[in-house]
């Protein structure tokens, strides 16, 4: 089958080169075939090299990790995968990260659907200002509003008693806002690609605007919504700067908590790598499984 395809491709190339009557054409395409193989080997190597290091380090005893690096582990142990749960409260951090990232994703997607729909389907006064301001917040350096946000959280706690500093709620509202600009931009682009006739038919049937959005637009936009959800979840799951200041011991997330494997006296590299695998697997699998939605969603605005 594949050999057939290859030979077919080759014969196409040959046929084309004959049409062109260019003697060099065939040699050129062979050069490109070789270059492609060399290139793919190069990229495969630079991608796999760190991944191989993570996996082999995670199954070495600490003593071996702290001596000269060996490509093939001489002694294999799965103890680090057990130890990681004792050295730091990894299960706690895991749960915190899931709660915070999950809640931020759900709320962010819901808000972005509404705002993206308004931008895509309505021409209202202030529309341009709204979209410009929201998009330009994307360039705010996080460091600019880290301290002010901290001060706001403390003041709210002192005046109305809602605990935002060191609580799930504080990080959830922070992270959902971080992903809003791109989420709104991606979804309004996605909605733009849906034909207007859909809603016209629905409104003739007497459906309200919100009803049309819920029953017609959202089911048709699932690929875009999935892409936005992955983006929001990754934004929250990866965040370190704000988590390092705004969490307490009880609400610490994985990004901050993993630093616990490096103590003053010792760095438990094998446990750190084992924990990295455990932490990464869910998100890497989710991303790779849903990658085609991510490509569609991210590029729907730019590629058009």
């Amino acid at each position: 089958m594949s050999e057939y395809q290859v030979s077919q491709a080759k014969s196409q190339v040959i046929a084309r080169s004959r049409v062109n009557r260019q003697a060099g054409r065939l040699r050129e395409s062979q050069v490109y075939a070789v270059l492609r193989v060399v290139g793919l080997i190069f990229f495969t190597f630079i991608t796999l090299f760190p991944l191989y290091t993570i996996v082999t380090t995670a199954i070495k005893p600490l003593q071996d990790v702290q001596s000269t690096f060996h490509w093939i582990p001489s002694r294999i142990t799965f103890a680090p995968f057990g130890d990681i749960w004792q050295t730091v409260p990894l299960a706690r951090y895991f749960l915190n990260s899931i709660i915070i990232s999950g809640a931020a994703t759900l709320i962010s997607v819901a808000i972005a659907i509404l705002a993206g729909y308004a931008l895509s389907r309505y021409r209202f006064t202030g529309r341009r200002v709204f979209s410009l301001v929201v998009l330009s917040t994307q360039m705010f350096p996080g460091i600019l509003f880290l301290l002010p946000l901290f001060i706001i959280f403390i003041n709210i706690q002192q005046t109305i008693g809602v605990q935002l500093y060191g609580s799930y709620l504080g990080l959830i509202i922070t992270y959902l806002t971080f992903s809003l600009p791109v989420a709104i931009w991606m979804l309004s682009g996605y909605f733009d690609s849906l034909p207007l006739g859909l809603e016209e038919a629905a409104s003739i049937d007497g459906a309200s605007s919100l009803g049309t959005l819920m029953r017609i637009i959202i089911p048709l936009s699932l690929p875009g919504i999935i892409a936005v959800a992955i983006y929001s979840f990754m934004t929250a799951w990866n965040e370190l700067l704000f988590a390092s200041i705004l969490t307490s011991a009880a609400t610490r997330t994985l990004s901050v908590g993993l630093q616990g494997y490096a103590t003053q006296s010792n760095v438990y590299w094998n446990q750190l790598m084992a924990a990295s695998i455990v932490v990464s697997i869910p998100i890497v699998i989710a991303f790779l499984a849903l990658q085609k939605y991510m490509v569609q969603g991210l590029t729907s605005g730019a590629v058009k």
Partner: protein, 323 residues
């Protein structure tokens, strides 16, 4: 602008007369505002209000002495900006050094990521067996959480037990270096950040390549244009809209990068790895000079704003003349 609004309004008027039975529970004009209200509330609370407070703090002498009763910190006007921009002084020259490091870092990481992403996208822009597998493999570095990538590289870059130096000695390089000190720290950061960000460029550019109609290449090929000529004449111009967005986004991410230097070096980076975000973080939260730290962040925001504006202006002018 006004002309397009007028046509939209007439369109809407036509549509309104077409659909008769409508329950006017909410005024039609209010609907879009209701839809954007939640987004506006969160943007105001998390982005806009803190930014304004940040600007206010930059006008205060909020130092260690006032940290516990910060409302009493004295108003110092633009003094913090004067200190930050006085390149002869200690704080100003350190900030300027950090700025130059960040510019060099950004140019290298964005440039390398683009070249690698473009090359990989061209390699995979064809039909051959295993293409999907390679695409999935190349996306893994981007799918990994950023801090995990940096932790992994910080282990690989260890002097004696790291994989990079093991690779170098396997290639018979004598005296493998210390990677995480001196000027090497800068190159360590560039390698680490590039490894994570090139797949994003690859993802974007591959999608862009696949939207270029293949008959354009066939026509060029019939006329005897070389592959390189086709790349310059067809591929690059067609990718322009993708590149404009891609380069701006990666520029902003890289310029504001905090994770890479922070996870590699903590709160005391070597001077060659003193990126702006970490520099401001240390000025604020380690040296407890929040007034100066805020002034530096505002300057950073102004810089990013001007660069983005000029960039978009140039691109949009070019785009208009092309159309």
């Amino acid at each position: 602008m006004s002309a397009s609004r007028a046509t939209v309004q007439t369109e809407r008027a036509v549509r309104q007369t077409e659909r008769q039975p409508r329950r006017p529970r909410v005024s039609k004009r209010a609907i879009p505002y209701l839809y954007i209200t939640p987004a506006v509330i969160f943007e105001l609370f998390i982005h806009i209000l803190p930014m304004l407070i940040g600007i206010a703090i930059s006008l205060l002498g909020l130092t260690l002495f006032y940290i516990h009763y910060w409302t009493q910190a004295p108003f110092v006007g633009l003094q913090n900006y004067g200190i930050a921009l006085n390149f002869g002084g200690a704080a100003g020259s350190a900030l300027f050094h950090s700025f130059l490091i960040t510019v060099a870092y950004t140019i290298l990481v964005v440039g390398l990521s683009w070249v690698l992403g473009m090359t990989a996208a061209l390699l995979l822009n064809g039909d051959f067996r295993g293409r999907g597998w390679f695409r999935t493999l190349f996306l893994i570095p981007y799918a990994l959480p950023a801090y995990i990538v940096v932790i992994t590289w910080s282990f690989m870059l260890q002097k004696d037990n790291g994989a990079i130096n093991a690779l170098l000695s396997a290639l018979h390089v004598s005296n493998p270096p210390f990677w995480l000190v001196g000027t090497n720290a800068f190159w360590s950061m560039v390698m680490t950040a590039t490894w994570r960000s090139w797949p994003f460029a690859f993802l974007f550019l591959l999608a862009g390549l696949q939207s270029i109609p293949s008959d354009m290449y066939e026509a060029a090929s019939l006329e005897g244009a070389s592959k390189w000529r086709q790349f310059l004449a067809i591929t690059l111009p067609s990718l322009k809209p993708v590149n404009v967005v891609l380069l701006l986004v990666t520029f902003l991410w890289t310029f504001n990068d905090f994770n890479t230097p922070f996870v590699l070096f903590g709160q005391a980076p070597p001077p060659s790895a003193d990126l702006l975000s970490l520099h401001i973080y240390v000025s604020s939260f380690v040296n407890w000079n929040f007034g100066l730290g805020s002034a530096m962040s505002v300057l950073l925001l102004i810089f990013l704003f001007i660069v983005s504006l000029v960039y978009l202006r140039i691109f949009q002018a070019g785009g208009a003349s092309n159309e």
